[in-house]
Symmetry: D2
Subunit: 238 residues, 4 copies
């Protein structure tokens, strides 16, 4: 990752987030078996952050499906920058996740549009990034459940840069600032947003149990079965 991230973006973020004593940080990279994201590791993870760029297609479909399933079961997911085209994110969104983009080192101003949101804590009205990659609308995502940030770019674009979704029992935050050719992940306010997002995304409730056939005798109200049936009493197709 060159001179800005000699040990990788994950190492910079792990170091920054490691200053918070309530967080236990582990890292996982593409080269590891199952990309370091075995079922056991995922089951033991509250919030997963994800950054990727050129190698999205090298991510194993089974691992991507495992991340998706774990989010639905309650794990938080924080997707960074070019992770918008990662397999776990596009599977969870169901849409193209395409966007416009330009790499010109231009100025980005990340505006807080929702100052009451926990992910905006500690940020005043905006974050200014002197050099950033431009991401522009339209961004091919489902309408966010909550919008926290919208970015302004020097070259004339706008972008929904901080977006929240709930999928199943899991919370997802996408945050667009960051690129391997700028020191954005060294910026304390960017680190603060990611920290806030990790707290926001941690599991809140319980997962829905699946699948759930409810036999007649377990119905909460007394009913008498009637009509044709294509299933037997246990719920299997005849």
């Amino acid at each position: 990752m060159g001179r800005l991230y000699p040990e990788g973006i994950h190492a910079v973020l792990a170091s920054a987030l490691g200053q918070y004593p309530e967080l236990q940080i582990r890292t996982a990279t593409l080269a590891e078996p199952e990309h370091g994201l075995s079922t056991e590791v995922l089951a033991d993870t509250d919030v997963l952050t994800w950054w990727g760029h050129a190698a999205h297609n090298d991510v194993d479909d089974a691992v991507a499906a495992g991340v998706q399933a774990r989010v639905i079961a309650g794990m938080g997911l924080v997707v960074l920058h070019s992770g918008h085209l990662s397999k776990p994110f596009t599977r969870l969104m169901g849409t193209s996740c395409h966007l416009s983009w330009r790499e010109a080192g231009e100025r980005e101003r990340v505006w807080v549009i929702n100052p009451g949101h926990p992910i905006a804590q500690g940020i005043d009205r905006f974050i200014e990034l002197e050099n950033s990659e431009c991401y522009g609308e339209p961004f091919g995502i489902p309408a966010p459940d909550e919008q926290v940030f919208i970015s302004w770019f020097e070259g004339g674009e706008v972008f929904r840069s901080g977006n929240c979704w709930v999928r199943g029992s899991g919370r997802i935050f996408y945050f667009s600032p960051g690129h391997e050719s700028y020191p954005i992940y060294h910026h304390p306010l960017i680190q603060r947003v990611i920290y806030n997002a990790i707290h926001w995304a941690r599991p809140q409730g319980i997962a829905a149990g699946v699948p759930r056939h409810v036999p007649v005798e377990q119905a909460r109200e007394k009913i008498v079965p009637r009509g044709l049936k294509v299933h037997d009493a246990a719920g299997s197709l005849r």
Copy 2:
């Protein structure tokens, strides 16, 4: 499909919807090549209705991906009853789409919770179905963009039975009443809802073009490139 739908559910719906002169109806079934849903057919379709039950896994992944892509490009999709676990629907939702269920021929009352919505036109306060399959919460879907119906079941459950989403430039409506062992698709008000949904789901705007690299000289504001680059001038990774 037995005595209620001797020629299939699709034939009953095609006949009912065929009474509306502004609609041009075609049908496609699992047994046809590409399930009758070639790229050409999809490109020429404004709104696709989808019913399926036991054979979801027999649907070709490429066809499901084609339907998903066409919805994102603007085609409407109306998903019926057990289609909640169909490949196109689960790909677009990104979640489990699981639910509770019971086949007991019990009474269902489909309540209009949004009388101002176009899909509720012509329905008074509810539709009563004397025999229905119970679908119950929690339903593993993303929060609907608009909620039109919620159902009451004799055995004690509730269910979000009429839900709208926008994905890309396409509109999706899921409507749960309907089962192969009840005459629900012969009910004039159920047919009316499906008719309304087809009108609501027809393409409204245009699809977002993809992908979109915006070279520096095409930026709307004059900018001078600066900083490191991982892409060349045409947008390819170096």
Copy 3:
């Protein structure tokens, strides 16, 4: 309104929209009795557009309440520019509707973020306005039900400039471009957006009837009343 709108902004919009034969246009102004918005006029109006600036407090509370009630019953409402602080809009939103602003004749670029939305029909990727009043985030509105446009401003701000809500059976669109000191309402694409919004906002379904006491004998399921009561059989408090 000076040289740009010698007969008022309403006259320019009425003339522009009058070119569409399917629309019947009437105008109403502050100086008229009941501001031209009697109960009869409102009852006979499908979609109301609203522009106001310095005289918000001169609008009669009863008229504002009448507009609010009519929207809830199904009338569409298209609120323009400084109408964000009008009484009907703030009553319907329930929030401050405050924003940041600056009058410097700077450039605004109104980006389409939702190309599949009917209000974006006929607009390519953006509308450029060489001179505009800057409105900036945070904008004190409830999260829009649908977001159509986000604006970029030369001075560094962003703004959610085209927002949809449903309230009761009525549809509301807020569109921020426009000011009495710029020719924005003469711009054909701005007129097109307002035209699209009027079509989008027209009544779609029916209003919910109110109030609705449901006596025991009218319950859809047979029930036997039990327990204490604070109401009599007709629903009045004892």
Copy 4:
């Protein structure tokens, strides 16, 4: 309030919530000056719970406006049962908040539709209330930002019984179970939901400052003012 709530519903809730050491509970009632909700008290309140029934019109408009303003500034609001027609709630919603209802002591089953939501913590799949007042759809509210509970009623209705909104920097939860003629507020799971809601609704971020004129020289990007003006340099109308 009769034999179920000899000291008032507020006393039962204060006692139940008082068992949690992290909560500091105070009560306020209609008969007190300013209903016990002076500006100072509101400013010192993180979350306000509100129950009212027959006396909504006796609530002072200024106090209702004060509650609304404080919610927008970040205070949480938990509205209970017949509080759906209270002045603070209807002002914040902007809609009729009307519903169907019937007092017959019938069974209500409050279903968790969002098991991952923090307000559902500690509730299994539903809460059963043997005697409840029926509230039925359509409920005249803006679409909730999050839906947590939907209720089933013995007499055949459904109702969105647990709904979340964000307004300004404040969080609002409406929870319908509860009536002065049933012991619902003595039910430990109902108390648990209210406890969860108080935690969910506590202030999360900061309020947006208002109003905000941004003079040209304070714009983040250097701009040269041009065009006509209706405001002077300080932002006042000429």
